[in-house]
């Protein structure tokens, strides 16, 4: 299945699609019902079987990656001092995935905000894990120093 039961997804045109039995959009000619989700998202594109007025067709919905610039205070005491470029994607379950190519951190969730929150938690945990190991290991200290150029922890 391309998506999980009960999830709702936005398309480029701002309409929303859901699982079997729900409606893609209302039109003057009636409603277009999704009868099945035909295939998993591949190459950033998901396909759905839809039917209306007795006719059916397959439509494609783009799930192309977009980017997000993370900067400023991301949680109390934690500030991204150098902008960090994140990629926002959808996986084949329909979940959102935020990730960066600099530290290889990712966050996932059923909504954009939950995925971003998971990313932020993971980034801070990664910082803490590196910090705890940096003193004993010069190589890890180098990675930690690099991360510290982007993320600062200000103790209250």
């Amino acid at each position: 299945m391309a998506t999980r039961q009960g999830r709702r997804y936005s398309t480029k045109s701002g309409t929303s699609v859901k699982t079997r039995g729900d409606f893609l959009e209302s039109t003057p000619r009636g409603r277009v019902a999704i009868v099945n989700q035909a295939a998993a998202a591949r190459s950033g594109r998901a396909f759905y079987n839809v039917s209306a007025r007795g006719e059916s067709a397959v439509i494609g919905v783009n799930h192309s990656p977009i980017t997000y610039l993370l900067q400023g205070e991301i949680k109390p005491g934690w500030t991204v001092v150098k902008p960090l470029l994140l990629t926002v994607e959808r996986d084949e379950h329909g979940d959102f995935v935020y990730s960066d190519d600099r530290f290889n951190i990712y966050g996932e969730g059923p909504t954009q905000s939950s995925a971003l929150a998971d990313y932020i938690v993971s980034l801070v945990e990664y910082y803490d894990l590196l910090a705890a190991r940096a003193d004993a290991d010069q190589c890890t200290d180098s990675v930690f120093s690099y991360l510290a150029q982007y993320l600062r922890h200000v103790s209250a």
Binding site: E92, N104, C139, V143
Partner: protein, 102 residues
């Protein structure tokens, strides 16, 4: 073939020598591997009963410093512990951002 988080965790620990790295979150765990002369390898595994998506597999592969097909080989038992260590030393992907002076 999709992999469940507990299967990945078992493989990382039992076959590749990763250990739990202490975490603060209830919905995922971190695992670490220290190889001499390299920065600590850290990877995050989400807690879920469902198989992880291919997208997340590719993100984990990057954290492990290998390409996605290599990661699948690790999980499918086509890649040994020695293969993994050699790969991370000789051709890490993505490369480590810091210069390692050995």
């Amino acid at each position: 073939m999709p992999y469940k988080p507990n299967e990945i965790e078992a493989k990382l620990q039992d076959k590749f020598g990763f250990t739990k790295a202490g975490t603060h979150s209830s919905d995922h765990r971190w695992y670490e591997l220290k190889l001499p002369g390299l920065p600590t390898v850290l990877t995050k595994v989400a807690h879920s009963r469902e198989p992880i998506s291919a997208k997340i597999e590719s993100k984990m592969a990057r954290q492990l410093r290998v390409r996605h097909p290599f990661f699948k080989g690790m999980m499918d038992c086509n890649k040994s512990n020695d293969d993994y260590r050699r790969q991370v030393r000789e051709d890490p992907y993505p490369p480590f951002d810091v210069i390692i002076i050995s």
